[in-house]
Amino acid sequence: MLKVRIGSLSLPNPVMTASGTFGYGKEYEDFVNIHKLGAIVVKGISFDPRPGNPPPRIVETACGMLNAIGLQNVGVERFIEEKLPYLRNMNCRVIVNILGDSVEEYCAITQRLNEEKGIQAIELNISCPNVKKGGVAFGTNSSMAHEVVSQVRKETSLPLIVKLSPNVTDITEMAKAAEDGGADAVSLINTLIGMAIDIHKKKPVLANTIGGLSGPAIKPVALRMVWQVADAVKIPVIGIGGISTWQDAIEFILAGASAIQVGTANFFNPRITDEIIIGIEDYLKKNKYSSVREIIGLAKN
């Protein structure tokens, strides 16, 4: 009843965890049946380990939070050595979120991941600045996005999901660039760029000045973008942004998402993904649908 397909990838249910909000899976083993999740998208992996930004890295905002973790991660080698075996052992479906400062870095990580078993898909986080092209983010320039997607596409036959940034004038243009580049699916949205100021210290709260806004606050923007992108591309759309209840998840599916990712809500309710799976199933039963696929994009009719 809950089965969905993302390109060649078949998932038992449409509920995934969003990158950077579920650690490497193990962090939630006491709260959630992690092997029952649609998939776990792990914290973004770069080629080399990254220390991340200096603290403070997070601040709470109205119904949301800002983070400037700075993509701290263990790097692809240690991920494979230290984190992947556990997830493989637990029979989890693993999607590896990758990031790079250059097309070459994205490709190198992909090559390395290709050699490993137990990875179901790769999610390309294109919100990073391209250091070679003057720091403009891959995710805000459609020709750069197209370039990185098509290069990575050449490196792997794993399903390739491209994760879009919402900080653009027209997200459908970015989605189309990803589709043209050979993506099997797009996921959206990443965080909105925001900031907060400490009025006592008279300085930005985050050491990094700006950070990514996530949580329930951004849900309306995310839902609108999913709605637009679902109209613009033929590949499946994965909805992300502020999903905190099963009702939120249903909204995204009705808007055209084939699956959803839960991010910030894991922090304030570590059991939320299990609850959402149950909630979706109940909704389908009460509304007499036999499959979640029947309601994908239904609000468009």
């Binding site: 006491d30 709470e60 894991n266 309710n269």
Partner: protein, 268 residues
């Protein structure tokens, strides 16, 4: 399974000072597996504002499976908690973090300032339980008498030496807890002191430096903003010292690597 998410029922509420409250919950699983220095994350709203859970040290646990927190109402979340009544239900995650390693050798000195007093009661009880005869000194600090009077009663029941200081001199030593440490501990024949400290950052920094000077072991309980409390968000970063093995940015995470750290490992 050693971390739990529970809907705990409030079984007792106390106001111990102007803005100081103590809540007792029945949270059997958490109480059973807790150790001193660990913390819990509480949902401190009915809706989505405030959004994130709030971290609190475990103040006491009982055999019956109740768990206490001691806190000061300083903002939205703590104000919400201060208005809870007996019978109300609260969503709580814990126990979290690493807790204090109680050193069996040497004497023990607990230094708590402000709400940093919270974990000290639990720690004192555990030290007393495990070590007989016990060499335990407790130094507590607060802004004024109103903030500390009721808490002192709880500590005095322990039967060990408890001394205290207030910023305004309304009770105990007039000044900082840090001023009390050396007079008490260096005059003592016990050389090998283990200092356990929790309080405002400047105080802990000062305690760490005193301990360093005297070559005492020192553990501190660190505070940062936390989103998850379980090592998933990587938001609760503090900077560790730079050693040759560790690179220049030796970031540690308070919720997983701490909240208890060896003072010598922190970049103050």
């Amino acid at each position: 399974m050693n971390t739990f998410q529970t809907n705990a029922t409030v079984v007792k509420t106390e106001q111990l000072g102007p803005q100081i409250y103590r809540l007792t919950f029945s949270a059997y699983d958490i109480a059973k597996s807790a150790k001193p220095g660990q913390f819990v994350m509480l949902k401190a709203s009915q809706g989505l504002d405030p959004l994130l859970r709030r971290p609190f040290s475990i103040h006491q646990v009982t055999e019956q499976g109740t768990l206490q927190i001691l806190f000061k109402a300083i903002g939205k979340g703590t104000q919400y908690l201060s208005a809870l009544k007996v019978g109300d239900v609260i969503d709580i995650v814990g126990p979290l973090g690493n807790g204090f390693d109680i050193n069996t050798a040497g004497g023990h000195c607990l230094v708590g300032g402000g709400m940093g007093i919270a974990p000290m009661l639990y720690l004192a009880k555990e030290i007393i339980k495990g070590n007989k005869p016990v060499d335990l000194k407790i130094i507590l600090g607060a802004q004024n008498k109103d903030e500390i009077a009721q808490l002192l009663l709880n500590f005095s029941e322990l039967g060990v030496e408890v001394i205290h200081a207030t910023d305004d001199g309304s009770s105990g030593h007039h000044g900082f807890v840090t001023e009390l440490m050396e007079p008490i501990l260096t005059n003592n024949n016990e050389k090998d002191w283990n200092i356990y400290c929790c309080g405002p950052h400047p105080m802990m920094k000062q305690v760490a430096s005193i301990c360093d000077k005297n070559s005492w072991n020192c553990w501190v309980s660190m505070e940062t903003m936390m989103a998850c409390g379980i090592g998933a968000c990587l938001g609760c970063t503090i900077q560790g010292i730079n050693t040759i093995q560790k690179q220049s940015q030796n970031y540690m995470h308070v919720c997983k690597d701490g909240p208890i750290f060896r003072a010598a490992d922190i970049k103050w």
